[in-house]
C-alpha cells in the first residue's frame, strides 16, 4: 500500500511542473477585462443618474406597499414569446410562438442568459440588458427605461411586482428589492442562500418565489418568513426558472437531478443535469410532474424555460430533448401536453392582455 505523503508529493510536484500559465498574456488580458468592467459600471451609473434626474417612471411612488394584480377573470392570454438559444453570434433574439404579433418593437439588447418577463400590464418587456441593468422596453414604441442595476451583471433576473412599483432582482445572499425610480435598494436577506435566482412575485404582492442551488423557496416580501416549496435531491448547479401563477394558486418550476459530470478533454466539461417541469401549491403541497424536459449537457447549452399563461390555465415549457426540442404547453396538473413550437428556447414570456 502506498503512503499518502508519497502520493501527495508526487501529485503536487506534477501539478506544479505542468502548470505553466502564459503570465504576460494573462496579465495583459486582466488589464483589458478590468478596463471593460470599469467602463460598464460607469455606463450604469450614468443611466441611474439619468433616471433619477426625471426620467419616465413605470409606476413610481406609493407608500411602500405592493398592490395586488388585476383579478384573473379580467386577464387574457396574449403573445407567447421564446428567446432563441441558438441565435447567431451574441444576439439574444425572440420569436413569437403563439399570438397575433409581431410586436411593433422588440428589444435587441437582451443580456446573455437573460430571462424575460412581461410587465404586469403587458405593455413592456422586462429583462436584463447587455450592460447589466434591468430594463423595461415598451413594445408599442420601443420606449426603453432602466429600472435598476443588476447586483451581479453576469447573471441577472428580475420580476416586477403586480402593481409595477418594485423590482425584485436576483442577488447574492437574498433577493434585492428596488422601488422603481429610486436609487437605493434593499436586500431581502435569505439565510443560507448563496445566490437567489428567478424571483417571481405572488399575485397579491406579499411574497416572492425564487430558486437557489438547493431548491425552490418562497419568502415574505417583508422578510418575515421563508419556506421551502421544493428541495432538490442533490445541490444543483443551475438556477432553475420559477414562475408563480397569476391567480396565485400554484408555482411552476423545474426539479433537477444531477448525473455524473464529465470532463470531455480540452476546455469542455459537461454538467449533466436532467430537468423535470413541475408545479406545486405555494406551500409545497400537491406537487405535480408536468413533463420531463431533457438534459443540459455542456458548458454552453440551453436550459429549459417555463412560464404561466396570464389566465393561469396553462404552463409553457421548453425542452432540450434531442429528439423533440421545442415549446410545449401543458395544463397545471400535467395533462394536455402538446407542442406549439420547435427549436431551442431558454426563456419564455407570456403577455397578459387586460380588459
Amino acid at each position: 500500500m502506498t503512503d499518502l505523503d508519497t502520493l501527495a508529493r508526487a501529485a503536487a510536484t506534477e501539478l506544479l511542473d505542468r502548470t505553466t500559465p502564459d503570465v504576460s498574456g494573462r496579465y495583459a488580458e486582466l488589464r483589458r477585462v478590468r478596463a471593460r468592467r470599469t467602463a460598464a459600471k460607469l455606463v450604469g451609473v450614468v443611466a441611474a443618474v439619468a433616471v433619477a434626474a426625471g426620467g419616465w417612471r413605470l409606476a413610481a411612488g406609493g407608500d411602500g406597499r405592493v398592490e395586488p394584480a388585476p383579478p384573473p377573470s379580467g386577464v387574457h392570454n396574449g403573445d407567447l414569446i421564446g428567446i432563441d438559444w441558438d441565435a447567431p453570434g451574441d444576439m439574444r433574439w425572440w420569436t413569437l410562438i403563439e399570438g397575433e404579433g409581431p410586436a411593433p418593437s422588440r428589444p435587441d439588447d437582451l443580456g446573455r442568459y437573460a430571462r424575460v418577463r412581461f410587465t404586469p400590464d403587458g405593455s413592456s418587456l422586462l429583462y436584463p440588458d447587455r450592460e447589466g441593468r434591468v430594463v423595461a422596453t415598451r413594445l408599442r414604441d420601443g420606449h426603453r427605461e432602466v429600472l435598476a442595476d443588476c447586483p451581479e451583471p453576469d447573471y441577472c433576473e428580475a420580476s416586477l411586482s403586480p402593481d409595477g412599483r418594485v423590482v425584485a432582482i436576483s442577488d447574492h445572499g437574498g433577493v434585492r428589492l428596488q422601488r422603481v425610480g429610486a436609487t437605493r435598494s434593499e436586500l431581502l436577506s435569505i439565510d443560507g442562500a448563496d445566490f437567489t435566482a428567478s424571483p417571481s412575485w405572488s399575485s397579491d404582492g406579499t411574497e416572492i418565489a425564487f430558486s437557489t442551488e438547493d431548491g425552490v423557496f418562497v419568502a415574505a416580501a417583508d422578510g418575515s418568513s421563508v419556506r421551502a416549496v421544493h428541495l432538490f435531491a442533490q445541490r444543483g448547479w443551475y438556477y432553475v426558472p420559477v414562475s408563480w401563477s397569476p391567480d396565485g394558486s400554484r408555482i411552476a418550476f423545474f426539479d433537477l437531478e444531477r448525473w455524473g459530470d464529465k470532463a470531455t478533454g480540452g476546455n469542455l466539461y459537461r454538467y449533466n443535469v436532467e430537468f423535470t417541469a413541475m408545479t406545486a401549491r405555494p406551500d409545497g403541497s400537491d406537487p405535480r410532474v408536468l413533463h420531463r424536459a431533457g438534459r443540459c449537457f455542456c458548458t454552453k447549452a440551453p436550459q429549459p424555460a417555463l412560464a404561466w399563461s396570464p389566465d393561469s390555465s396553462l404552463v409553457a415549457v421548453s425542452t432540450t430533448l434531442r429528439a423533440q426540442p421545442g415549446a410545449y404547453v401543458v395544463q397545471p396538473d400535467g395533462t394536455g401536453w402538446h407542442q406549439v413550437g420547435s427549436g431551442y428556447y431558454d426563456a419564455f414570456a407570456w403577455q397578459p392582455v387586460i380588459d
Binding site: 500500500m1 502506498t2 503512503d3 499518502l4 505523503d5 502520493l7 501527495a8 508526487a10 501529485a11 503536487a12 506534477e14 501539478l15 506544479l16 505542468r18 502548470t19 505553466t20 500559465p21 502564459d22 503570465v23 498574456g25 494573462r26 496579465y27 488580458e29 486582466l30 477585462v33 478590468r34 446573455r112 442568459y113 451581479e152 453576469d154 447573471y155 447574492h172 448563496d194 445566490f195 442551488e213 445541490r235 448547479w237 459530470d261 470532463a263 480540452g266 476546455n267 469542455l268 466539461y269 458548458t299 454552453k300
Partner: protein
C-alpha cells in the same frame, strides 16, 4: 479580508517583497503560476486559470488596500481558494470564460491518472478540508500559515487536515503513516 490582514507570520517571500515594492505586476507574476495550481487542485481543470485570474482581478481592483496587508500573498490564496470551492462563483467564472471562448484559451493542465485521482479525491472533500489540504500540498505551508490564510485557528486547521488525510487515504487506498492520520507541523 481583515481576518488575514494582520497575521504574525513573518517568513519573507518573493510575493511579499514584490507587494512591498508596490507593483501589482510583480505580485501577479510571482503569484499566478502557483495560484493556478491551487485552483487546479480545487476546481475542475478547465476553470483553473479563470478562477486564479478572477481572484487576481479582485486584487487588482483593491490593490491599494491589498498591497498594504502584511501578507498579500496569503490574501490572494484565500480569495482563490474560496472562489474555487464555491459552486456559484465558479459558475460565474465559467460564464465569463465561455464569453471569452472566441478568444485565446490555453488548454487545461492535464495530469497523469494517478495525480488526477489524487486531486479528484481532494475536490471531493468537504470545502474547508479541501482548501486546507490544497494549501498544504501546493504551497507546502505550515499550519500557522494555513490558519492565517483561511482565517481559522491552528487547532481547527489541524483537525481539517487530519480528517482530510484519513478520507484521502481511504479513497486512494493509501496509508497515512500514522494510525490516527494525525498531522505534524512543518
Amino acid at each position: 479580508m481583515s481576518e488575514v490582514s494582520r497575521t504574525e507570520v513573518a517568513a519573507p517571500q518573493r510575493a511579499l517583497s514584490a507587494a512591498r515594492r508596490g507593483s501589482f505586476e510583480e505580485f501577479y507574476t510571482a503569484e499566478l503560476p502557483r495560484l493556478v495550481a491551487l485552483a487546479r487542485g480545487l476546481a475542475p481543470a478547465h476553470l483553473a486559470e479563470d478562477v486564479a485570474q478572477e481572484a487576481m482581478l479582485v486584487a487588482y481592483r483593491r490593490w491599494r488596500e491589498v498591497s498594504e496587508l502584511e501578507r498579500p500573498d496569503l490574501w490572494i490564496r484565500r480569495t482563490c481558494a474560496n472562489l474555487a470551492v464555491s459552486q456559484f462563483r465558479r459558475r460565474l467564472v465559467e460564464l465569463r470564460g465561455v464569453a471569452r471562448l472566441a478568444g485565446r484559451r490555453q488548454p487545461a493542465v492535464e495530469l497523469s491518472d494517478s495525480s488526477e485521482d489524487f486531486w479528484s479525491a481532494v475536490r471531493a472533500l468537504p470545502q474547508r478540508q479541501a482548501q486546507a489540504a490544497a494549501l498544504r500540498f501546493v504551497y507546502d505551508m505550515p499550519l500557522a500559515e494555513i490558519a492565517a490564510t483561511l482565517g481559522a485557528t491552528e487547532g481547527t486547521v489541524k483537525q481539517h487536515l487530519s480528517r482530510a488525510r484519513k478520507a484521502l487515504a481511504t479513497t486512494l487506498g493509501a496509508t497515512t503513516g500514522t494510525t490516527t492520520g494525525e498531522v505534524e507541523d512543518r
